[in-house]
Symmetry: C2
Subunit: 283 residues, 2 copies
């Protein structure tokens, strides 16, 4: 496994590998790797000849007052985990390598970034698409793998890839969960024990919603009402949003009459947590 910090070095190496006919897969990460990342890496390994992961806490996707400075970082631990997962190349640049002096270019996906997390984090997805476009140009992967936990991010990246004609297959992988159902996230490290316990209610509420939906409830207001009640009963969770949206364009639904995503974002202590579940109507 090679650890590379220079953009040019990655580009030269990948160009050579592509010329040799190797299939390159990329898993972009912000590091502090967990089993969710491992499942993405395994899929990357399975689909490609050369597995690249990037580890970069991307400043442009954090708003002012968000957790950029305190976001957990542990490159040494990440290296061990990546090596075990079969990673061939770790690309871990510093912030100035990615955003040099006079940096001024941004990639913006307009419609699908407006709702959900886009409402409370208005520059977040612009930062995500910008850094992912850069990673695509640096690593030139054939395949890139993202988690479905960040559902809006996945929809946004698929839209960017389609719109900007990146010749890259985007693979979405199911959310990896702790035994009690909490979606894996590097930000779970912020939770103290009572917060960690309260956070279980998120997945529990999603499952309850799914049950309701499967038993015939299609009214968004009703379903969301149940989810809210379960989360509110914990007392220490502040809801940012709980919404049900069309999975294609992420616009709010009133009735779940097509494939939809039930998505939520909450604040528990210092952690902003998100989770989601796809609701598929039976036809």
């Amino acid at each position: 496994m090679r650890v590379i910090t220079s953009i040019t070095e990655v580009q030269v190496l990948i160009e050579k590998l592509r010329r040799e006919g190797k299939i390159i897969s990329l898993v972009p990460t912000m590091g502090y790797l967990h089993q969710g990342h491992v499942s993405l890496m395994k899929e990357g390994k399975r689909r490609g000849d050369v597995l690249v992961i990037s580890i970069f806490v991307n400043p442009t996707q954090f708003g002012t007052g968000e957790d950029y400075d305190v976001y957990p970082r542990d490159l040494e631990r990440d290296k061990k985990l990546a090596e075990r997962a079969g990673v061939d190349i770790i690309f871990s640049p510093n912030a100035l390598e990615i955003y040099p002096r006079a940096y001024q270019t941004y990639v913006q996906v307009e419609e699908v970034t407006k709702n959900l997390c886009g409402l409370s984090r208005p520059t977040h997805f612009r930062g995500v698409t910008t850094v992912v476009a850069k990673l695509f140009n640096i690593v030139k992967p054939h395949i890139a793998i993202f988690g479905e936990k960040d559902f809006q991010q996945l929809v946004t990246i698929r839209q960017m890839v389609r719109d900007l004609n990146y010749d890259i297959e985007i693979v979405g992988m199911p959310t990896h969960r702790e035994e009690d159902g909490l979606a894996m996230s590097s930000r779970n490290a912020y939770l103290n024990p009572p917060e960690r316990k309260a956070a279980r209610s998120l997945y529990r509420s999603l499952l309850r919603a799914s049950e309701l939906f499967t038993s015939g409830e299609q009214q968004v207001e009703k379903i969301i009402g149940e989810v809210k009640k379960i989360i509110a009963s914990e007392g220490i969770i502040t809801v940012d949003y709980i919404k049900i949206c069309d999975t294609e364009n992420l616009q709010d639904l009133i009735v779940v009459d097509r494939e939809a995503v039930l998505a939520l974002a909450v604040k528990v202590g210092k952690a902003r947590l998100i989770d989601n579940l796809v609701l598929k109507p039976l036809h």
Copy 2:
């Protein structure tokens, strides 16, 4: 020479050519080719193994009320000219191939697009960088060639390439001029004979400015005053701007104490014309 209208077809073909080790050069155009384009194509031919040109009148770089609908088009003539210039592939997609339903992604270079043409055409460069990013992802060239006549466009594209880490060499070629000095442009076709004659004053005024500068004048106000006088004497030319800017960041200068560009945009009849000249201080 092949003429291709499908994005996927170009991508599959280029991928194969790159795997064979071929150097791909790209000249992006809006068609209605003239000798200025020919000089770009010749340079592309000289530097690469496979010369691709794109012919696409890009709607997103035209503002409302601008000349998108009447912009001159003549694909049959362009094909002959391209064939003679040694073009291997013409990529000439239609607008829906480039901007399908639900299109919503834009690439924006922020600082260098603010001044000059960015003032009167606020969404122009966003359209240019978006379509050029797409062309780069479709054609995957090693080299792309642009004219220095569109000076701000060239600076903007260089900035985008640097910021988004496109592994592409950008080559700028000197402005090609008619015998009387008028910079070649597809938009010259809009000029009637008196307008065409008046338009000569643009290059004449640039040469006079260069003379002044070479003889020691460094005050921007003085130099621009001369340029204005010469253009005003024609009576039928409306000035959009005449400015002298730092060639690197395109910010206005008061004194020409570094490499600078004297850039102008005017309206003559229905045509908006631009021209420029670089002023290099002797050190």
